[in-house]
């Protein structure tokens, strides 16, 4: 491979990695910090994508649509967690395992609701930045992938700052480590968890809009993202925001390089093989707590 092609592949991989990080960041919170087995996270991403598509039909820019839908998703997340908490966490037992089956059920239901309201055909959105690219010498950077970089940086940096700078943010981090200590501090761990899960779900609005900006979506797309998003969240080390960004980039670059090697069709095996390798060395992820 020529040097300039290698450089281009790495740049493309970094941008792709940012996209992976952006769609996984909500999972890093819900699953990484709260231990909620949110298998339905990708289904919510697809829901966000269809939200952007729906508003796009009225001429709303997909990114703006994502921002507009964020509070709606926040409330949805609040309601979902309230139900989850009341039925699973409070009752104790193997909440994690049953939660898994529950969220699988939720994602199937979401998928069918999307089929019933939008049909099974692929949907795309139109925006001035889709289909254009930025020229850097010989290099062309697709604007939609640059948007992915922007959204990924925005989400990870904002969440990272929120988690370390604000009181609630620090409480969320504390809840992940020691619920008991938090309640001794006078904060209600359950309320904190509600709040955090709602934030995690809210990110699906913007990340979902990003999903449909980058590629067309169809109702069953979420199933393909279960592996990818969990891979990023776990590789990151549960709950680490910078870790999510780094993990996404590692996967993105690995995928991009293999796609440019002689055996492009081996890309999934290489990406997940890398995950196994990293887990073998660091069993709780790159930035594990």
């Amino acid at each position: 491979m020529h040097f300039d092609l290698l450089a281009e592949a790495i740049v493309a991989g970094l941008m792709l990695g940012c996209f992976y990080a952006a769609v996984s960041v909500g999972l890093s919170v819900a699953f990484g910090l709260l231990d909620v087995p949110q298998i339905a996270h990708p289904a919510f991403l697809v829901l966000g994508a269809y939200g952007a598509y729906f508003l796009g039909q009225y001429g709303v820019d997909p990114l703006l649509a994502g921002a507009l839908l964020t509070p709606v998703f926040f409330l949805g997340g609040l309601a979902l967690y309230r139900f989850y908490h009341a039925t699973f966490e409070r009752r104790g037992g193997d909440a994690g395992l049953r939660g898994l089956a529950f969220f699988f059920g939720v994602s199937f239901i979401l998928e069918v609701l999307l089929i019933l309201s939008f049909g099974v055909d692929q949907r795309m959105v139109e925006a001035p930045y889709i289909g254009k690219s930025l020229a850097l010498g010989e290099m062309r950077l697709p604007l939609r992938m640059l948007i992915a970089v922007g959204v990924a940086l925005l989400l990870t940096l904002a969440l990272s700052a929120y988690l370390s700078k604000t009181f609630t943010g620090r409480a969320i981090k504390a809840v992940a480590q020691d619920e008991m200590a938090l309640s001794l501090m006078g904060a209600d761990p359950v309320r904190i968890k509600h709040w955090a899960f709602a934030i995690a779900t809210a990110t699906c609005a913007l990340a979902g809009a990003l999903l449909i900006i980058v590629n067309p979506v169809e109702p069953g797309l979420g199933r393909l993202y279960i592996g990818r998003t969990f891979c990023v969240a776990v590789l990151a080390g549960l709950g680490s925001m910078p870790g999510t960004l780094v993990a996404g980039m590692i996967l993105g670059v690995a995928e991009s390089l293999v796609l440019n090697s002689l055996g492009a069709s081996w890309a999934p095996a290489v990406a997940f093989g890398l995950l196994l390798l990293i887990l073998a060395v660091r069993p709780s992820g790159l930035f594990g707590r």
């Binding site: 996209f19 055909d121 795309m124 062309r140 992938m145 067309p216 796609l259 492009a264």
Partner: protein
Amino acid sequence: MMKYLRAHFPWSAWTLLSAILLATIFTPATAQNAKPIRIGLSMAQTGALSGAGKSGLLGMQIWRDDVNSRGGLLGRPVELVVYDDQSNPAMAPGIYTKLLDVDKVDLLIAPYSTNVAAPIMPLVKQRDVLLIGNFALDANAQLRHDKYFNIMPWASVKDATLPLFSLCKKLGAKTIAVLAADAEFAQTFADGIRAGVKANGLESVYDQNYPPNTVDFSSMIRALRATKPDVVFVASYPSDSSAIIRAVNEIGVGSSVKLFGGGMVGLQNASIMESLGSALNGVVNYHVWAPEKTMNFPGVLDFIERYQAKAKQAKVDQLGFYLPPFNYAIGQLLADAVTATKSLDHKILAKYLHENEVKTVVGNIRFSATGEWANPRIVYVQFRGITDKNLEQFRAAGKQVIVAPDGFKTGEVSPFSQARE
């Protein structure tokens, strides 16, 4: 109780109720005279194949309504027994045994696509029943079942590669790049191309199989561009097709490219065509039907018009250029054979279909010994003068110009980079 009913239930309602009751008592007698002809099939209504599957099913339902409004077949109404195979081949054996043994259907249509049809071929051969294939490529090559007839207008991958190579020659191409999805149809198609590269005086400069559901193609397109190919052959599935076209639009494939496309599934689909818009210009791709004058078979425009009127409400493909007319034609095929032979005996029907040419909305069809079209007809269209956000434009001629084969040509192919200006 009676008092209450009398007070709240007018006499007219009572009469109506008794009429309905009487009708139900007497209908069994009439229904026995006109026991419906049941036609069984499975069709993907969820999963990866459901976009095409749902549109095809609508085409078939329009045929059923047409034939029933004309009094049915052999004086009996026609009923479709349809199951959803979820685009999953593993569902097919169970569904087709049910159709044969429990529903006892009179006629059988194969599921859409090669992979879902493959599991039922041995079953059908073993039971020795008539099966109309629904876009399964070369599914009967191994078994050679003599009661199989495929509606897909190409018999083998050669039918698709020959016109494409003739286009390469016409454009004076010397080098070719191949980009194919690592999945069934794309691999079959790409292997056909690979096999013919040398014989057609071409040199392969790039050849990659990408894994299904790849998100970003920009780095592959860059690597491909660096090899400066004359022809870029792409065999891809719907979501990849749009991603590849977008990446080409953003990155560019270089001015050397004279021909781009070939086997991209999805570029026949209304929602994808509409969203890609002007990015499609210049792309050459396989097709089975386009609104061009050489494809104006008797009845097809009328069908397309009626299909489009219903498609919006049914939330399926708004144009219906791919599967729908062919699935309407499946109905016509069966209707023709049944009416001409006045029989539902599969042996007689198969004999008729082997010996006679059948008139359908997709043209007259004659079948070869293996049940494929005797005169295969795959066309290549070039997208021209497409604008953004406009579904209507695709309904008119001149936007998807047929450039090969010669018999159906409505325009000459223009080099990719030129056609994009």
